[in-house]
Amino acid sequence: MTEQGTTPTEHPPALGIVRFLIAKPEFGPLVLLVLMIVVFTSINPAFASLNNIGNALTFTVELGLIALSMTLLMTAGEFDLSVGSVFGFSPVIMWTFFNAGFLPLPAAFIVALLIAVCIGLVSGLFVTRLGIPSFLVTLGMLLVVRGSALWLTDGFPQRTWDAHDQWLSQVLVGDFYIGGLRIYMSLIWFILLASLSHYFLTRTRFGNWIQATGGNPSAARNRGVPTQRVKVTLFMMSAAMAAFAGIISSIRVSAANPNSGAGYELEVIAMVVIGGTVLTGGRGTIAGTVLGVLILRLMRNGIVLIGVPGLAYNIFIGAIILGMMALHAGLERRHNTGT
């Protein structure tokens, strides 16, 4: 708290608007996204086709869902490395119960989500009650959960092809057409949950507590904010969201593979920080995260379309992360915009 901020002063209106935009953490990612679309489309016009955009959006959703709850968790100053393993584990649980004739699909769905919530609860309690950094706790949890998925299945995928006559799978991943654009239900879920998360973070009392918990935990505690309960709740939401995304994915690809979701945790965290959420907590933006999600997915899609070898993808992602971090660091003080 050594920096002496500048007090707001009057500017001509036009300059004021520019400053207002630059001060938003979402500004950098928005410019990057627009630039990407322009560049990719000018090199290969197919990039902007309805078909391509529809496809890109579909795959976007599964990681994007996890990124939403990760944004809330990171705003509270913690993160969760176990999301990728829960993404693989939960559908395995659901389909194992269902295929064994143990439970009807909706019940298996609920059970899988509840087990995920318990995983989040355990991570949250380890972090808050024992004071162990979330990096270590969720790394341990990653191994436990992934190991469980592999051990339960002997490493083999669970079949899910009985799914298609189930109403639940229609609700989760069904599709419909708007004009020529094929819309998957999962996209609707993403839009719905993104709007909810945004509202939740910026407009509710709980959202205020999330920001305070990450921004200055002891100040929040001194004001009577239950910071530990806030964090535990967010760990549970994060695991539940990873399970939800994993189940959607398993229905879409017709397989619940115990290995799926490996490495997703890092890609999700990359999406979140590219969007302008701070790794150390205190400031988070759902709008930024949605931009971050789009940037990474369109990048993956775009570099293939313009003929860059797909294997080079990580070079671009790494460069974007580094560039964005530099930008956010440079604008750090302006980002402290409050509400």
Binding site: A212, A219, R221, G224
Partner: protein, 252 residues
């Protein structure tokens, strides 16, 4: 003396593991008085006020508010009992706005429970009004993040919060640390204002000159216990008080 004192602490003991931080501490605060709490580094001042504000549990002893025994298990208990504490470095959240800081943990909402929708307009309006009252309204809208305020302005915001919630007792832990001359005077002025409107204050500072300017009474701690509790600026000199703090007076 018919009315019970605002706060009474009786035989408070506090151990941090094996560190005996408070030894049989007795302290009384009356309504409308400013008490300076003095003592060298590690004397136990911060520990004492953390106990009184519910931030750390005490090992044994009794706390009474207005004569009634109170169980202090969380900061919410203290806030509900009318005790507002302003910590030097952990009073406010830098990235949140002034208005949100003022209402943190006590947000104005239009819905029930923790899912309640924040009433941003009302909080901003109240905050703007408070800022005017403590004299830092000039050009600073209530939506300004705390992180861009000066140290003195931050103290003012924290004090404004205590005044708004009409706390009976405002505790300030080293509020004048790292402040310039003008800002220090500002903080001291707020403290006097708080007293004039009927609030009691506990004021901790290492700078005895600051303490002498505002307090009615001084309490001195040394190695976890209260060694003097009725020194007054009118009857003691700064040198006298310094001797009590260091234990020099015992040598005489």
């Amino acid at each position: 003396m018919t009315e019970a004192p605002l706060v009474e602490m009786h035989h408070i003991e506090k151990y941090y593991g094996r560190v005996h931080a408070l030894r049989d501490v007795n302290l009384t605060i009356r309504k409308g008085e400013i008490v300076g709490l003095l003592g060298d580094n590690g004397a136990g001042k911060s520990t004492l006020i953390k106990v009184l504000s519910g931030a750390v549990p005490y090992t044994s002893g009794e706390i009474r508010i207005k004569g009634k025994p109170i169980v202090m298990t969380s900061t919410n208990d203290a806030i509900d009992a009318g005790i507002e504490t302003i910590y030097q470095d952990s009073a406010l959240v830098p990235m949140l706005s002034i208005a949100r800081n003022l209402f943190l943990g006590r947000e104005l909402t239009t819905g029930p429970g923790f899912m309640g929708r924040l009433d941003q307009d009302r909080m901003n309006a109240v905050a703007a009004d408070l800022l005017r009252r403590v004299g830092i309204s000039k050009n600073i809208p209530p939506t300004t993040p705390i992180g861009s305020l000066s140290g003195g302005e931050r103290q003012a915001v924290a004090i404004a919060r205590a005044m708004y919630f009409d706390s009976d007792l405002i505790i300030l832990d080293e509020p004048t640390n790292n402040l310039g001359v003008a800002e220090t005077q500002g903080v001291l002025r707020f403290v006097r204002e708080a007293r004039d409107t009927g609030h009691s204050c506990i004021f901790i500072a290492h700078n005895i000159h600051h303490v002498f300017q505002v307090v009615d009474r001084m309490v001195v701690m040394r190695r976890g216990t209260v060694v003097a509790d009725d020194l007054r600026p009118a009857t003691s000199s700064i040198q006298d008080v310094e001797d009590v703090i260091t234990g020099e007076h015992l040598a005489l």
